[in-house]
Each structure stands twice: as structure tokens, then as C-alpha cells.
Amino acid sequence: MISLIFFYIFAVLIVISAIFVVISKNIYYSALWLALTLFSVAGVFILLNAYFLAGIQVLIYIGAVVVLTIFVINLTKEIEGKKEKQHNKQVIPALLASLTGAVLIILAVLKTDWSSRIINWTAYDETAKLGNFLLADFVIPFEAASVLLLIALIGSIAIVSLDKENK
């Protein structure tokens, strides 16, 4: 019961902050709302007993992605802000489309009987198991992911600095 209450708290936080991320006129506020959303998602992960994920959610998303985003916003800020319109002309069709899509899928979800799928909480050391899996069964995807990150790193540096040379 207590978990249900926490779920609703997090869910409301997620939805409201996500909406603000999308509609906020100031891109800087959007980034801050995004941080709140991601933080609430970490809370949902905790409700799901995924503590490790909650940890890296906070570390990577909030600690890295959001910070990086804010950094870029700062770099480009001169032409941002309230003066320019922040939304394009297809707001209404997009709204309709999103609502229709969401309603259709939620209807399908509601029609389905989930009662047999009750969570069977058994506590075990998930992080240790995750570590074992990542370095044994999933070692090749793991390495691939590291290579991907390296490439992204080099790529981003190359993209940004090539431009510098042209100047």
C-alpha cells in the first residue's frame, strides 16, 4: 500500500515535470524540469527494486546528460530565451496525435487482464548478479558499448573542433 502511494507521488511528479519540459517557454527551465523528471524515474526504479539502475540513472542522466545539456544551452544562449517562439506550427495536430496514440494504447492496456502478474518480491543482490552478467555473458556487448562511448567521445570532439579549424 505504501508503495502505491509512493508510486502515485512519483508518477504525478514525472508527468507534470515532463509536461513542463515540453511546454516551457524557456529552454533553461526545460532542462531543470528534465532533471526533476529523471530524478522521479530513479524513484520509480527504486519501487521496482532496481537500486543499481536508480543509481546510474541519477549519476549518468542527471550528473552527465542534463549537466551537458545545460552547458550547451549556456554556450548558445545569446539567441535563445523568451524572445523566440519555442514551438512550431504543428502544435495542435501533434497534441491530437499524441493524445490519440496515448488513449489508444492505454485502452488496450486497460482491456488486458494483468491480475496474474503480481510482483513477487524476493530480495537478492542484484548489483552483484548484474556485474557477473556484464563481465561474463554480456561481455561482448559491454565492450561494444565501451567502444561506442569512445567513438561518441572522439566524434563529438571532431565535430566541434573541425568547425574551429574552418574559422
Binding site: 502505491l4 508510486f7 508518477a11 514525472i14 508527468v15 515532463a18 519540459v21 515540453v22 529552454i27 526545460s30 528534465l34 523528471t37 526504479f45 521496482l48 527494486n49 532496481a50 543499481f52 539502475l53 540513472q57 549518468i60 542522466y61 551537458l68 545539456t69 550547451v72 544551452i73 548558445t76 539567441i79 523566440e84 519555442q86 514551438h87 512550431n88 506550427k89 504543428q90 501533434a94 497534441l95 499524441s98 496514440g101 496515448a102 494504447i105 494483468w114 502478474r117 503480481i118 510482483i119 518480491w121 524476493t122 548478479k129 548484474l130 554480456f138 558499448a145 561506442l148 561518441a152 567521445l153 566524434g155 563529438s156 565535430i159 566541434v160 573541425l162 568547425d163 574551429k164 574559422k167
Partner: protein, 102 residues
């Protein structure tokens, strides 16, 4: 009682909020942030299904780890591209980048 349905509905709502953002945000950085919302919706879905359907296995969690990795890489590259465009003197509004037109 907390059921799988709750998480899925949360995930759907978050996903379509993200879609709405992608479709309407003019600022390219805003679009990237909306994409992060979509990724998170997917992550919630993944972990919820994994925990409810196969509580003893952690494949869903591992997938989430990889999704977070890829999302991080993607957002880094996206931001780098935005920065490059910005530096070349153009605006970073998506509806003004229409060179690929007929």
C-alpha cells in the same frame, strides 16, 4: 496493489509527452531533451516487465543499462552537432533547417 499496469500506463504517458515534444519543439536542444523523455519511458517499461514477468532474471535491467549508455552517447553527439551548427552561424531551430527540401 501495485501492478504492472500502473507502470505501463505511466510509461505510455511519458512516451507520448516525449513524442509531443519532439514534434513541436523548435529548439534542437529541446528536441534532444524530449528524446531523453522517450528513452526514460522505454526504460521504465523494460524494468517493469523484467521485474514482473521474470523476477529472477535481470535481462531487462541489463538492457536498460545499455539503453542508458547509448542514450548518453547519442545526446553527446547530438549536442556536438547542435554546437557545430550554432558555431557556423546558423540558428538551431529545427524548422529553419530545411536545406533538404525539393
Amino acid at each position: 496493489m501495485l501492478t504492472l499496469m500502473h507502470f505501463i500506463i505511466l510509461s505510455v504517458i511519458l512516451f507520448f509527452i516525449g513524442i509531443f515534444g519532439v514534434l513541436t519543439r523548435r529548439n534542437a536542444i529541446g528536441i534532444l531533451m524530449s528524446l531523453e523523455l522517450i528513452f526514460n519511458a522505454i526504460n521504465i517499461n523494460m524494468v517493469a516487465f523484467s521485474k514482473f514477468l521474470t523476477p529472477q532474471e535481470i535481462y531487462g535491467v541489463i538492457f536498460t543499462v545499455f539503453i542508458i549508455t547509448v542514450a548518453a552517447a547519442e545526446s553527446v553527439l547530438g549536442l556536438a552537432i547542435i554546437l557545430a551548427i550554432y558555431r557556423s552561424g546558423q540558428k538551431i531551430f529545427a524548422d529553419e533547417m530545411n536545406l533538404m527540401k525539393w
